[in-house]
Structure formats: structure tokens, C-alpha cells
Symmetry: C2
Subunit: 375 residues, 2 copies
């Protein structure tokens, strides 16, 4: 009996109605609307308990309608146990990297959320798929396009979903920016400006180790600018220029990762994008210049307090939308895709496209030549 019920619930959820709400609306319209019964939540295993998991992802489950934390994977058992207590994860859901493959036997885990250093994404994604799990993997998907392709193949072989954690694609202001651009509310977009950066701290962190991070600011923060230029244009770049600078002697970049890399993109329709990626200074803005107005988000990629503005004819109109927890939206989307057997908005193929473009950006900077790509 469970399956038909689940299917029906999914249908109601897909139409935006819960069973209770659908009946309540018809029968007792004059009464205050009662919340529907809790949706079935899918279980997530969070793999890698660094600052992103601790400060953002684990607290976000409280805001989820469809996702709950049911397992934690960490090399630090004490840390995992402490976080499990805080977030109500059962002790049976605690894993080390050695026992990771036993997730296969944990029916409470539907989805594995890979929050490890970049270079570990492919291995832990593929192993999760082999354990029969769906995977939500943090950005960047991997350090090379080849790894991305292997991850996509593993998901396909397992018949499981693979989604990349592009949280901004689930964030209301960024979604509104996309709508304004695509529906040409202010005419045709012509120039896109995307800047993402921060002054990176601790020189010992994995983000500054080339083997783990795959590169410097571009892999970690510049990817937001690249991804935004792609989602705001709705196109894939066909020509890329890049120019890079890293402060000599700055200990943070001693392992050969780049500090700042600025890139230019040309899209097939003729939209041009100028982008900045930096570990040296704060940058946090996406802007579209269309024929009749410009519209922007600044901050554009913070976890909160995003601000959207429309600039035209000397006036500035504030359009910010009510705040939502970005990670909760992202995890709920993944859970709903699994429940409804739908393709995630940011599947593995999306991560692969960014990796291909990032490799081209690095190649353009290295070769001092425009790199051309097929759209």
C-alpha cells in the first residue's frame, strides 16, 4: 500500500496542493487554512563536516520540507557525534571514510550530499552511486571535465540522480534575474558583468592546495561568476579571454593557485560578459545591461541579504524578494526530483559545462589567446 500513496502524495505536491489542503479548501472554506500534513522527507547523508556543512548545510535542514539529515560522514568521530546530537542524527547514521560504502545498507539514506574538498568529489560521488544512492555534490563538480564525465556515467549506470549544489539556481532573487533577462523585461540583454571574490584567510586551508582544489579563486568563487554569466544569458560561451595575476610572495598562493583571474565571454547571440574571480578582494555582484535598463544583484552570492535593483534613466528601483534559506531550497529540490523522478535543474551535465569553461579560461590565461568553444 505504501507505493500508491507515495505516488498520490507526489502528484499533489507537484500540483502545489497537499491532500489536506485540497479537501479543506472545498469543505470548510470559511475556516482558517490549516497546514497540511508533513511531507515525506528523504534522508540525506552529509559527507565532509567542514565549515560549509557545519555553518550552512546542517542548520538548513530545519527549513526543509522534503529533506532531513539521517547520516554524517567524517574522519573526526567526535565532531560527527557532537553534530549528530545537535541535529538529531541517529548514532547508526555515523560513518567514517572507511565505513562509507556501508551507506548501501542504510535505508534511511536516500541522498548523499558530498561536501568534501573538490578533488574528492568524483571518488565519493561514484562510490555513493555504487552504493545505490542519489548524489548531491558541491560545486565545483570536480577538478577536470573527465572526472565529471565519469561521475555522470556512474549516476547513469546506477540509475540514480546526480545534482550539483549550485545554490543560487534555487535562490529567489537569482531566479528573478534570470526571468528578467530571459523574458527581456527591459529589452535584449547585451552586456553581463559578474564578479565574485573575497580575501581568503588561513593559508593552510585545502582551498589553497592545488591538488585538492584543482586551482585557485576560479574553482571556488569565480565559478559563481561564470555560472551566473551562463544562466543569465541562457547560453554557452563560444569565445573566452582571460588574464590573471597573483601577488608574488603572498604565502596564501604559495602552492601555485591563482589569486585573481578575470575573464571575458562571448555567447552565440552576441551577448558579451566581463567577469572577475578573486581571492584578493571582495566582489559580489551580477549585473545585466539590457537595451532599456540595467538590473543587478549586489550582494549577489551571499548566503543572505541579497539586494536586487533595476537602474534606468537615473532611477534605482529596489526589487529584493523575501529571503529564503538557499541550502534548504537546494536540498528540497533534490529531494523532490528524487520523489518525482524528475531531472534536477542543475544536473551533472551543468557541472561539466562549468568545468569545460573553466579549463578554457585557464587555457586562455596561460596561452594569451582567445579560446573558442562549440556552443
Amino acid at each position: 500500500m505504501r507505493k500508491p500513496e507515495a505516488t498520490r502524495r507526489q502528484f499533489l505536491q507537484a500540483t502545489g496542493l497537499t491532500a489536506a489542503a485540497a479537501f479543506a479548501g472545498a469543505r470548510i472554506a470559511a475556516q482558517p487554512q490549516l497546514p497540511g500534513p508533513p511531507a515525506k522527507k528523504l534522508g540525506f547523508a552529509v559527507v565532509g563536516l567542514g565549515s560549509l556543512a557545519i555553518n550552512q548545510i546542517l542548520p538548513a535542514f530545519a527549513h526543509c520540507r522534503h529533506a532531513k539529515a539521517t547520516a554524517l560522514v567524517s574522519g573526526d568521530a567526535a565532531k560527527a557525534k557532537s553534530l549528530a546530537t545537535t541535529y538529531g542524527v541517529p548514532e547508526s547514521g555515523l560513518y567514517s571514510y572507511e565505513t562509507y560504502d556501508r551507506l548501501k545498507d542504510n535505508a534511511d539514506v536516500d541522498i548523499v550530499y558530498v561536501v568534501l574538498p573538490n578533488s574528492m568529489h568524483p571518488e565519493y560521488t561514484v562510490r555513493a552511486h555504487k552504493a545505490g544512492k542519489h548524489v548531491l555534490c558541491e560545486k565545483p563538480m570536480a577538478n577536470t571535465p573527465q572526472d565529471c564525465e565519469a561521475m555522470i556515467a556512474a549516476a547513469k549506470a546506477a540509475g540514480k540522480k546526480l545534482m550539483i549544489g549550485y545554490r543560487l539556481r534555487y535562490e529567489p532573487n537569482n531566479m528573478a534575474m534570470i526571468k528578467m533577462a530571459r523574458e527581456q523585461e527591459f529589452g535584449k540583454p547585451k552586456v553581463i558583468l559578474c564578479e565574485a571574490g573575497f580575501s581568503i584567510g588561513d593559508p593552510k586551508q585545502w582551498r589553497l592546495k592545488k591538488a585538492l582544489a584543482g586551482g585557485g579563486s576560479l574553482m571556488d568563487i569565480g565559478i559563481y561568476a561564470l555560472n551566473a554569466a551562463r544562466y543569465l544569458s541562457g547560453e554557452e560561451p563560444v569565445a573566452i579571454n582571460a588574464i590573471s595575476y597573483t601577488t608574488p610572495g603572498d604565502v596564501r598562493f604559495a602552492d601555485g593557485v591563482e589569486e585573481t583571474i578575470n575573464f571575458q565571454l562571448r555567447f552565440p547571440s552576441g551577448v558579451l560578459a566581463n567577469c572577475v574571480s578573486s581571492y584578493g578582494v571582495g566582489l559580489n555582484r551580477f549585473r545585466v545591461h539590457a537595451e532599456k535598463a540595467s538590473f543587478e544583484l549586489e550582494p549577489a552570492l551571499s548566503y543572505s541579504d541579497l539586494r536586487m535593483r533595476v537602474l534606468r534613466g537615473g532611477t534605482v528601483e529596489l526589487r529584493s524578494l523575501p529571503e529564503r534559506n538557499q541550502f534548504a531550497l537546494e536540498m528540497d529540490h533534490m529531494a523532490e526530483c528524487v520523489q518525482g523522478n524528475a531531472e534536477p535543474r542543475t544536473p551533472g551535465e551543468e557541472g561539466l559545462k562549468d568545468l569545460r569553461a573553466m579549463m578554457a579560461i585557464y587555457e586562455a590565461a596561460r596561452s594569451s589567446k582567445t579560446v573558442t568553444l562549440n556552443a
Copy 2:
């Protein structure tokens, strides 16, 4: 007796004091400060009565302390006569392009302000120098670096001043931006973003004729972004990338001038700039990202209503300065340099530097390669 008096007055002006103010301050300190006597104004011949001269330059003389319009040069005698009446230019100061060289005999003209289409700047500058006049020439200085060099040589041969009309270099907000960047009020600048553009109208105007304009948006409006990147960094670019797009079939660009050209600059200190130049969309911002804060002007290059902001840690501080007439400041500077025998802040050499960089920008876009320059 006129010469020593003029020299003394120049000295007082150079020290920021007029004769009356210097004495008044000592003798009657308790009384309200009276304005000093009017400064001696140098006479300007305005050459080319297009919209810039009519709407901006001629009205600006009313705000000048050291400059007055004493001659007009135009191919349209009726237009010249009408404007002469409005602005108090004597009929003896009206010239056609055929009678232009007779400026030599007009002692009321000290400085010739060349406001012609770009391709005509060299000829009319050189002829003015040969007539023994100082020259203020609109930007871009010329269509080629070779022409710029010839203009500089003509000024030198005549022993006269040559200044390029970079009005923003005399505008208080832009000056304050330079000070904030150079004095590192917010730490070392790392990334500079300069965007200048507008949607160009009448397809028949000279700005859209390649032979007259020397190019498209870059020559006319993008030059502001380039010049700002140079004056905000205080350096000359050593590496340049560029990417261009012009809407096919757009009648405005039928003569082969570019619509949008985006360029990247690397400066010797490692500062990177991303710039946009467009005839397709409105763009009007200069921003510096320094280690501790960002600061910007938007609008940055309008004739009025510039807005300066400092952005740090989620706060935005408005720092706009009282408005001044930019052309009046520019013309007064030229007059003061002539009076005090000082080098203008934006001499011919400054115009030449932009032309060399613009040629490199076009070459980078054309060749799809990074163009390197000597600092």
C-alpha cells in the same frame, strides 16, 4: 607696463590669492571677505559648433574664471552668428574653415578649442599651433598615434601648450576617486572595473562614420573607461585582451564601426581592469576594489549628478561632492596653464597614451591574442 603686472597677477593666482584678497586679509580681517577683482580671462576660439559645443562648451564659459569665448569657427555662418549673439562673441571673431588660419591675426584669441570630428583634430590643431595659438583638443586626440605625435611636435615647434579635453580629470568626484586609490585609503587597489556606453541614436552622425570617428564606441565613449582605468591605477597597461560584438544588420553600424568592445588590462603593479565600451547599452560606472573596501562612481561620466559611494562590509556610504561645471573647470585649467606657463594635467602625451592603448585593444580583438605593451 602690462607684462610685469600680468606676471604678478599670475603669481598671486598661482598661490591661490588675488591681490585684493591678499591685502584685505591683512588689513580688515573683521570685515566680510569681499570677492577679488575679476581674473584676467583668456580668449577661446571654439572650432566646430556641433551638439557638444552648443549644449556644453559654450554655456560653460559663464562658469569660467579664466576663460571666455572670443571666436567661433563653423561652416554654418548663420549658426555661428546666432550663437555669437547669445554668448557675446564679437562679429570680428567669426570664422569659417576657409578663414581659419586668420586666427593668427586675432589678438583676442589665446587658445583654440578643437571640437571637430575626430579625424579633423590633427589638421586643425596643427594649423592653430602654426597660427601661434595654444590648443585644447577634444578626446580622442586623433585617430592614430602617428597623428598624435605630429600634433605634439607641432605644439613643441610653436612653443605653445597642447591639452586634451579629458573633462573628468578636472571633475571633483573623479579627482577624489583618484586620491582614494593612490593614497590607498582602503588598502591596495586590486581590481578596477570601468564601463562606459550608451545606445547611440541617429545612424547618420559622424560618430558612426569610420573615416571621421576612427572607430566605434571605443573611440568616443569607451575611451572614458580606458582613461579611468589608467588614472585610477596611475599606471600604463602592459597586457591587453579584448572581445567585440556588433549586431549584424543594425544600420547604425553599417559603416564598420564596432558596437561593443570589452577589454581587460593588466598593469605593472598587478592591478587588473575589466572594461566595457558600448554603443548598444547604457554603462556609466567606475569602480575600484581595494583590499578593505570598494569605491565607485555611478554615474561616473555624465555631465552632472555623479554619485560616489564607498562599499564595505555590507554598508554603502555616499560621498558625492558638490557639483561643478566640468567644461568650465577644464577650460579654466587650460587658461591657468597658459597664464602660468605650466604643463596641463592632460597634455598631448596623455592623448597619445590612450591612442596607443586603443590601437592595442583593437589589435587584441582582431588577432584573438593578448597584446603586450611596454609600461
